[in-house]
């Protein structure tokens, strides 16, 4: 199978709930005009899972920041970094293509806090927070500069969550993008990380909780959380470039265990309605997971 192919159905016979979900997601996909949609779901309350094109590879966009967050906390767990370790804020990075220098454009980061600190230092936990909550590309490349992509990949291997994640470089490396050297993810790959975090199994319950706290601070909420009830809390990370829009997170609802959900979508650059589509899928999943017993798994 190539990086963009996948199987739409699982080998096991689908339950009524799974059939209903697949049907509704297919309907949303058809109406949206998306080139591809993948969904991976794990409900810790019921054990229900859905894998819809979940092994199809997508450009990771900013969802790659979740594995990088894991790599940063691995360095903290090993004692190589402390949350308050200081990092020089410098906007100069080397492309994986011939080590050619590049900068992160300030206008492409929604957060000016990190750019405003150029020349000074910021703490590792501050950078991690900005990397996730406002998706700061500068913070991401700074952290990756300290720990290195190889270290992140080794962490993923050690935690057995490397399948479905390919971290090759920092973000905004345009030369690499032009050469087709990109960070790639599958819905299943991201789901494995989220489930591990939600279950407190990444390094330690305390460190897992700290990562979840950062993901709870997410400020871009037009995807998975948009059509959920106000009582829902979502720890998540979005990712969007011209051809993809993603959201990956853990949904906490009152009086039940959380569910982890990854929605990856691919589009023509001119397409609209990307986040609306993610929100619609999220709403559909929420309704099917929380409705009455008639669609309970067999």
């Amino acid at each position: 199978m190539t990086k963009t192919e996948s199987k739409a159905t699982s080998a096991n016979p689908a339950s009524p709930r799974e059939r209903a979900l697949r049907h509704q997601i297919e309907k949303i996909e058809k109406e949206s005009g998306a080139k591809a949609i993948a969904v991976a779901l794990h409900d810790s309350e019921t054990g229900f899972q859905l894998h819809y094109h979940a092994d199809r590879w997508f450009h990771a966009a900013s969802t790659i920041k979740v594995p990088i967050l894991l790599g940063v906390f691995a360095a903290i767990d090993r004692g190589e970094l402390l949350p308050h370790s200081r990092v020089h804020v410098r906007n100069r990075f080397l492309s994986v293509v011939e080590d050619i220098p590049f900068r992160v454009e300030a206008g492409r980061d929604s957060n000016s806090a990190v750019h405003n600190a150029i020349g000074k230092m910021m703490r590792v936990d501050e950078l991690a927070y900005h990397m996730i909550t406002t998706s700061s590309n500068l913070a991401t490349n700074l952290l990756l500069g300290v720990i290195g992509p190889a270290s992140v990949n080794e962490t993923l291997r050690q935690l057995h969550v490397d399948d479905g994640i390919e971290l090759k470089r920092g973000v905004e490396d345009e030369l690499a993008f032009e050469k087709g050297i990109n960070n790639m993810v599958t819905a299943n790959g991201l789901l494995r990380i989220l489930v591990m975090l939600a279950e407190g199994k990444a390094f330690s319950p305390a460190l897992s909780r700290r990562m979840m706290d950062i993901l709870h601070g997410q400020e871009f909420n037009q995807g998975i959380p948009a059509r959920l009830p106000k009582a829902a809390r979502v720890a998540h990370k979005t990712g969007e470039i011209s051809t993809v829009a993603h959201d990956a997170g853990v949904v906490y609802l009152p009086k039940r265990k959380p569910y982890s959900l990854v929605i990856l979508t691919e589009w023509d650059p001119s397409a609209t309605g990307r986040l609306r589509t993610i929100a619609a899928i999220s709403q559909t999943i929420y309704e099917l997971l929380t409705q009455g017993p008639e669609l309970k798994d067999e």
Binding site: S85, H88, V89, N91, R92, I100, P101, G119, M121, V124
Partner: protein, 210 residues
């Protein structure tokens, strides 16, 4: 004036009453510091010339002290010792050690500040950093305490050719013998700061006995 009076005055001059930092011989420091600072060792520069690293250091007992000590009218000690997680672990906690030549750099920067007429900002990792710092590949004058990376002057960020070359020229006109890194991306050039240095200057204070 008697002979004993003249002797007393000489001793007072050498006491440096306005500079409270203790001078230490790096060779007498604990092993973890010696390993990181490599006092008196030779270190090859980019052209494979051996350069002798500093042996004598000022001991900085605390960040609070660094925040208070003026090396020049507009430069406090803390501005020269900001290093990030890439510095060797023993050198990220206090007491910290900085080569005695740091005072010469501060005087030069003060003159430079007078010439530009506004605030001169030294970047993190851009003052003193040890030979064990992850940025220190070849013998860099940063490890002698005689180099500064300036990322901002007044409201001007030195992240473009025009700004870097303009202030580089002022530095060279103001400070005889100063070296500035040319603008550019390759190794040996700088494109997001102004690097200036005095070279591999070793400073041995008068009260050093050995």
């Amino acid at each position: 004036m008697t002979a004993s009076t003249r002797l007393d005055e000489t001793e007072r001059v050498n006491e440096s009453p306005n500079f409270p930092l203790r001078v230490v011989d790096g060779l007498t420091l604990p092993p973890e510091y010696r390993k990181a600072l490599r006092p008196g060792e030779d270190w090859m520069d980019a052209n494979s010339f051996p350069r002798q690293l500093p042996r004598y250091f000022y001991e900085i007992p605390s960040w609070d002290t660094a925040m208070k000590i003026e090396l020049a009218s507009h430069f406090l000690l803390w501005e020269f010792i900001q290093v990030d997680v890439r510095e060797a672990p023993p050198l990220r906690t206090f007491p910290r050690y900085v080569p005695c030549a740091i005072t010469l750099l501060a005087v030069c920067l003060e003159r430079f500040r007078e010439a530009v007429g506004t605030l001169v900002h030294i970047s993190a990792n851009g003052g003193y950093r040890s030979p064990s710092h992850r940025f220190s590949k070849n013998a860099t004058p940063h490890a002698w305490g005689t180099a500064a990376n300036i990322y901002r002057i007044g409201d001007t960020y030195l992240d473009n050719r025009n700004a870097i070359e303009r202030f580089s020229l002022i530095a060279r006109e103001t400070l005889p013998g100063i070296w500035t890194r040319p603008y550019g991306a390759p190794t040996g050039y700088a494109e997001d700061h102004l690097h200036l240095d005095l070279g591999y200057v070793l400073s041995v204070p008068r009260d050093v006995k050995s």
